[in-house]
Symmetry: C2
Subunit: 393 residues, 2 copies
């Protein structure tokens, strides 16, 4: 008999894509929308990277390659990790694949249905989406605003059970922008060692830190025993459309994830992988320039948000987001997002999309032209001032 | 406690990649290898397609797009199916993703662990690899050489049980090149309707048929009720490195597969998708020219193979492979593959890699320069003639 499988019932997708579709409909209807919902840069990738992709196509890098990634990119990743994390992994510890699928593959290779994984709340929605459709139990760690939304290792420890298989930490954090301290990274490494667990360290935004240092729990076992370093090119290098990421981890687990990638996808396009090499080799000045620009935009948006009645915003230490407290408006995060989309044409993501502990906040990506940020914050402020008078909401 | 999940035990990957690695090592050691093992063309993609990919990069199509595929490509696919299959699907019936993952997603969305799927033996190894790691039971239909390796619908019917959820048919066939007749397509459609099952019609090689017509079981329900049409750009358009494919199916099932793709992958690179539009829009004369060329290469290789003592080869009606009977050599298919790799520097795939019923055969892809085909067949013939005298094997 024809039916859907059980796991289809747990498929929830990524809530961001729902907003994306709503916004596209408004735009198609002629409405100007200020887009702060998508976690992507308005500024394009490095021209050098685009040209490297074009050149790889011309050079005929258009056929099947190894499922693990082309050797040149894997070596370049080893060198890059050496620079950023002060240890050089073996090439067998590196697998090249889209960052989003790293989460899925890491969970599927370490946890069975009914097992538990631990991750932050609020957190990147794919953690929940993956656990949901796989039938793996989500145990979440509430992040506290009074701790600047940093995940407290003691809160992780308190949630570990016999069923726990994997802990996910995220620094810098999506959606809050919080950056783990060196002490916290050390504690996380000690906890997973003591409890003999895997740790997926999601460092997708590692290059976006402002005036603080990036710390990683992976440096203690050098990804040889239990830690997995997740990274990718979408955020730092503004290469979201390339769908290129990588994971560094224990070679036996990486081999399993590689077999899974081979089974499901065969391999990634080689010309996409050559773009990754170009980004790593030529990326330092690009990243430094972007970081300066992004910091100014962050400060501009924080100032604009703080001018809105009922909204209070700290400039987060990392990532590409602000996560203002909107409780003073008296609205829920979904009400706030609906209100500013309708009344100001500004798209933001309700904090509750990132987990229950995200309520009372919304997420905005500030990698936009400064003039757009100013205009959007003005429009939101005016919408709330008008509402204050008419009390219509 | 840290451990791998149960499903990692079933991960077998694709055996072709093992040969690929072996060959690369021989080549690295300075040995010339005639590569007939990879199911890929030695001839490059249409320059028009490469240029379209390059142009899309220049035009800034480098950001997140809809998980279902960009609307322009989905519409172009609807038009294309209209031309090739005489029905036009709705755009909601179309999902763009790598062809290999269509197999994984179709099985995961229709079958639970312990359920059964039916597919041909010999068949594309990913069918087995996917069933294996998911814990879904494989029920295989032996293809008979006396039936020119076409899957007999009566053999499928005889294997359907209460646990059957999905049937996979492949035409033209990998590895045998067999092409389903119109009557067989009609019977397959009737069987899955009668038994209320899903049918995944793998038509990856639909454009590679020589002097016969391509028939599809999907035309009876127009992919609205139970049939899924799998296709891609790797084979017909020589675009293996783009990793671009699509599936047309019932809109509710396609929505589930789309949610799965969104959860695991987010989306495919937009510049890769623009290449697909270019291929579909400008591909007719390209396909026609290639087909003429491929037919000549097929005939050349069949002639060469038939000159080898103990080898007997029919020129298959479709796909890009020959699947000669090598029983007359007295070797198993793995022994044959090892022998010709070592003694003649020719890489082929043992038939048994495609399932037990592939024993006694090997697979060769003939999309190579004619001179290479002649030279390789000569070397294999000489190796077997020498062996015949020395009897050393």
């Amino acid at each position: 008999m024809k039916s859907f499988s059980r796991l289809t019932r747990g498929l929830v997708g990524q809530p961001m894509f729902k907003i994306l579709n709503e916004v596209k409909m408004m735009e198609a209807a002629g409405r100007k929308v200020f887009r702060f919902e998508v976690g992507d840069s308005d500024f394009s990738a490095d021209p050098h990277v685009i040209e490297a992709t074009r050149q790889a196509l011309t050079d005929g890098h258009t056929r099947y390659v190894s499922s693990m990634g082309i050797p040149e990119l894997r070596e370049a990743i080893c060198d890059h990790v050496h620079e950023t994390h002060d240890f050089r992994p073996n090439v067998e510890q590196v697998l090249v694949l889209p960052s989003n699928s790293i989460i899925d593959f890491a969970v599927r290779c370490t946890a069975d249905p009914g097992d538990e994984i631990i991750y932050p709340n609020p957190g990147f929605p794919t953690y929940f989406a993956v656990a949901s459709y796989l039938g793996v139990s989500s145990v979440t760690v509430p992040l506290k605003e009074e701790n600047d939304f940093r995940m407290d290792p003691a809160d992780v420890l308190a949630r570990i059970s016999d069923r726990t298989r994997l802990v996910i930490s995220t620094s810098p954090s999506n959606p809050t922008g919080a950056v783990m301290t060196a002490d916290e990274a050390k504690s996380m490494a000690a906890i997973v060692k003591d409890k003999d667990l895997y740790l997926l360290s999601d460092e997708m935004y590692y290059s976006n830190v402002y005036g603080v240092s990036h710390s990683s729990p992976t440096i203690y076992d050098e990804c040889k025993e239990r830690t997995l370093l997740l990274n990718g090119f979408s955020k730092g290098y503004a290469m979201s459309g390339w769908r290129l990421g990588y994971v560094v981890g224990p070679s036996d687990l990486i081999a399993k994830m590689g077999l899974m990638f081979e089974t499901v996808y065969s391999c990634l396009p080689p010309f996409v992988q050559y773009a990754g090499i170009a980004a790593l080799n030529g990326g330092k000045s690009f990243l430094a320039q972007r970081l300066l620009r992004y910091k100014a935009l962050r400060d501009c948006m924080a100032e604009g948000l703080n001018s809105i009645p009922g909204v209070s915003c700290k400039a987060a230490d990392g990532a590409i987001y602000l996560f203002p407290n909107i409780r003073g408006t008296g609205m829920s995060s979904e009400e706030f997002a609906s209100f500013v989309l309708r009344e100001a044409g500004v798209a933001v993501v309700p904090g509750v999309y990132f987990g229950s502990a995200g309520e009372g906040h919304v997420r905005l990506c500030y990698l936009r032209e400064e003039s757009l940020i100013r205009e959007a914050c003005d429009l939101m402020r005016k919408a709330f001032e008008k509402r204050g008078i008419s009390n219509e909401y």
